[in-house]
Symmetry: C3
Subunit: 350 residues, 3 copies
């Protein structure tokens, strides 16, 4: 667990700040959030799913956050909230505030004189800021980051170490970008000509809204002509690849290792499971859920959950089944033939 | 869209430079390339596929690039070319030249005194160049790049920010390497011994030809003993993993998130779709096309298109079908039994 | 091949050092390890699998490492070992020692004054070491690396260029971490609230044991509350994504592009093939082997090999089969109906 000293609050102060019904001792002092299993008497834990209620009688937590249905499931000091998970998120953020941004550029940073850096922004060691780039108030550019010419990072956004933002790309306010992310590299565009590939210059940008989080080593390519767009509130996990001219609607969440091919448009409030692959030039409706490991090769018009991966088994069984799978066209033909023969036979004898 | 000021050319000058038949006003001045939908009167757009011809009557473009079959599909000033997409690529490159390379090393760069850096090459801020490394004429090493001892980067190649090239690896001429790419890390080689893994030193190199493009966060491992080889004209998208001792033939194009396991040899002029997986020790012929999301587990001798991913459906339908898929061996047995019984029954009654 | 000058040893000295039975001239001087095909007279090659024995009569190697069953398969000077591959690994490491670590911090490195750096450790150019961070004896931090506040790197570990280790994370002794790896970025944790996502602070750490190797651009997220744990001897290839609170048992080896979702626990001595996907909250037993491209969506209790990917074919054949696959529920129903009718028909005629 993180050993950095955290702040502490009385349970009553927490309830006053974030609402909910407080039951029990309001004076309990809470130092940290924890799981039921690992909690100590100065920790607050939560239960958001009923299957975890059985663990309540073994926890050493000092206080709990519970849903209304679990109101009496424990006698510990507790806060009852309609959304215990979101409540927990608030308490966790209260107890573990992001490291403060220390205004100013480290002396080893290389900031072009034409860049506009807010006084309250921080530029880390060995970071490089290009011509005409803009870093907003309270923003933090981590060590080793590279902000290209004309790129901008909005108010309060935090880039961890070794992030690369190419020229002219825009990151909105209150975004978080993790290490190794690359924003604005060239889209993969080549015209075939005489057996070679002629590069299509990628002259669009990447435009990222507010409150977007981008995971470690995720890549978002700039558009070929128009921009690649990530709307407000989108959450991207690690190692996601977003190709040129993709558009991702607001508040969509995408798990790790997903790949989205060029010019595809993902709706708002979608959820994409890990390692899903969305082919190019498709449109995915709002509120679509795609399961992990699924390849989407045509557009989806209706909200719902969509799945398509091969169910695993023992290797021997997979070998047998896979051999038949290659013959499934033949199996279907044999069923048709059986149906024909049986109909004829029964005709003969009726 | 990219706001960087672009150059402008008269349509007639473009046709004179790149060929093709000019129809209409040769004096139209073209400032930028664009899509049909976004084009303004100073832009040139193109149509390479007949399904986009319907959009021609709504474009505000000032000029067009069309194929011979669309010669009369618009009355706008236009250039007729047998390959409108490649023609467009040329015009786009003319109007959007790569940023000029400013010769010299930034004062924050750390260049070993034994490194040989061409006078016309550029070394970015905080880049680190190792002992005996070589950077060719007109090459550009971006900020934060690391060029290992004895590595070389050829004439006119451009490495964007934060690229890592390990010791002794070679990158040819006119290559483009995007941020976060790692060239020459150790291949994944371990000998099992008493339940542990004993590391096999990876003493080969990565050798990359001319005119190769490598996408953001793509990794190419050095060979175990012999080299990993990428031939001329290969185009690699983002987040591709190429294992030790792989050989990729000239002019092959590989889309994002592809993984190629050790010692596999890919032919020339192949196209690999996104997230395809090629297992190790295989040989793929020239001119093979592999679809996105496909796992290739045996060698391919013949040109053609190869596919193998589970077709998605609604989650409920997938659950039903997947359950049967696990029983397909049993379904096949039941069909055989039906055939046997029907043959016997018909024998009985014939 | 690597051109760096290697050391040389007499075959007899090698056998004396590492054991095994020496047959033939003990005075042969060995300069390098090689494959059978590429070997020169100063190289030693090995055969670990009988299918490669046929190549023995064409090799130009000066000496060989063979298993007991191949004892007489060649007349070249040779060492007979029960595990030729591991023996070869030892010889390769002897001939190709890791580059020596030059103690001290490069003058361009930025090391916080509260960091504890062993005198024998090396800190590369433009590396940044945070407050209270610890770098152990003989460890090497590559150029451009970022070691966060309170993080630690154990004795003899080597981080190549441009590795990022977030605050408070721990890397054990004798680890190797390749370029672009990101250790300790935030896990992907958000609570849904009113159509938005509320971030869950990720307050756990990443704790990595001894003798772990981590490939290029691999990402390991910090835990939400408790830690993400990688036990001793684990080997991770490139571009692997390990989510928050995953636990990976000792000596497990994971190939490139694998994704492991949150809170999953992988056993010891497992082997995961390339691009396998393990969903979240699962438990995988010790000694489990998972094939490449396989999605694991439920826990595995028994050792064994597990597989599940769609077998590829020509695109046309895949189209036909995939259409039937979507109808497999219907095919099964038709078989049931045929069985019913045939039983009834035979009942009619019996």
């Amino acid at each position: 667990m993180n050993k950095r000293k955290s702040r502490s609050f009385k349970l009553g102060d927490i309830a006053r700040r974030f609402g909910g019904e407080l039951i029990g001792n309001a004076e309990v002092r809470i130092h940290q959030v924890s799981t039921l299993q690992s909690a100590r008497s100065t920790d607050i834990a939560f239960v958001a799913q009923s299957r975890y209620l059985a663990q309540l009688n073994q926890t050493h937590a000092g206080a709990l956050i519970l849903g209304p249905e679990a109101r009496t499931a424990s006698s510990l000091p507790r806060i009852i909230s309609a959304n215990p998970y979101a409540y927990f998120a608030r308490v966790a953020a209260l107890l573990n505030p992001a490291a403060a941004v220390k205004p100013g550029a480290h002396k080893s940073a290389v900031v072009d004189r034409s860049a506009r850096i807010a006084k309250s922004a921080a530029i880390g060691a060995c970071a490089v800021i290009g011509k005409g780039a803009h870093v907003g108030a309270g923003a933090s550019i981590g060590p080793g980051c590279n902000i290209g010419d004309g790129a901008s990072v909005g108010t309060g956004s935090r880039l961890y170490a070794n992030v690369t933002v190419y020229h002219e790309c825009r990151i909105g306010a209150r975004c978080i970008v993790h290490s190794g992310a690359v924003i604005g590299a060239d889209g993969f565009g080549f015209a075939p000509e005489d057996g070679n590939w002629r590069k299509i210059p990628q002259t669009g940008r990447v435009v990222i809204g507010d409150d977007v989080e981008i995971g470690a080593n995720t890549t978002i390519d700039r558009g070929t002509l128009d921009d690649t767009v990530i709307e407000d509130g989108v959450k991207l996990d690690n190692q996601i690849q977003i190709a040129h001219n993709v558009w991702i609607g607001a508040n969509t969440a995408i798990a790790g290792c997903v790949g989205i091919a060029g010019s595809t448009r993902i709706g708002r409030h979608c959820m994409l499971g890990g390692a899903a692959i969305i082919l190019g030039h498709l449109t995915i409706a709002d509120h679509v859920i795609i399961s992990s490991g699924t390849v989407i090769m045509k557009s989806i018009d209706e909200p719902g959950t969509y799945t398509g991966f091969y169910p695993f088994s023992s290797h021997q069984r997979w070998r047998r089944n896979a051999a038949h799978l290659r013959q499934i066209d033949d199996l279907a033909a044999r069923i048709r033939e059986l149906e024909r023969r049986l109909a004829k036979a029964q005709g003969n004898h009726s």
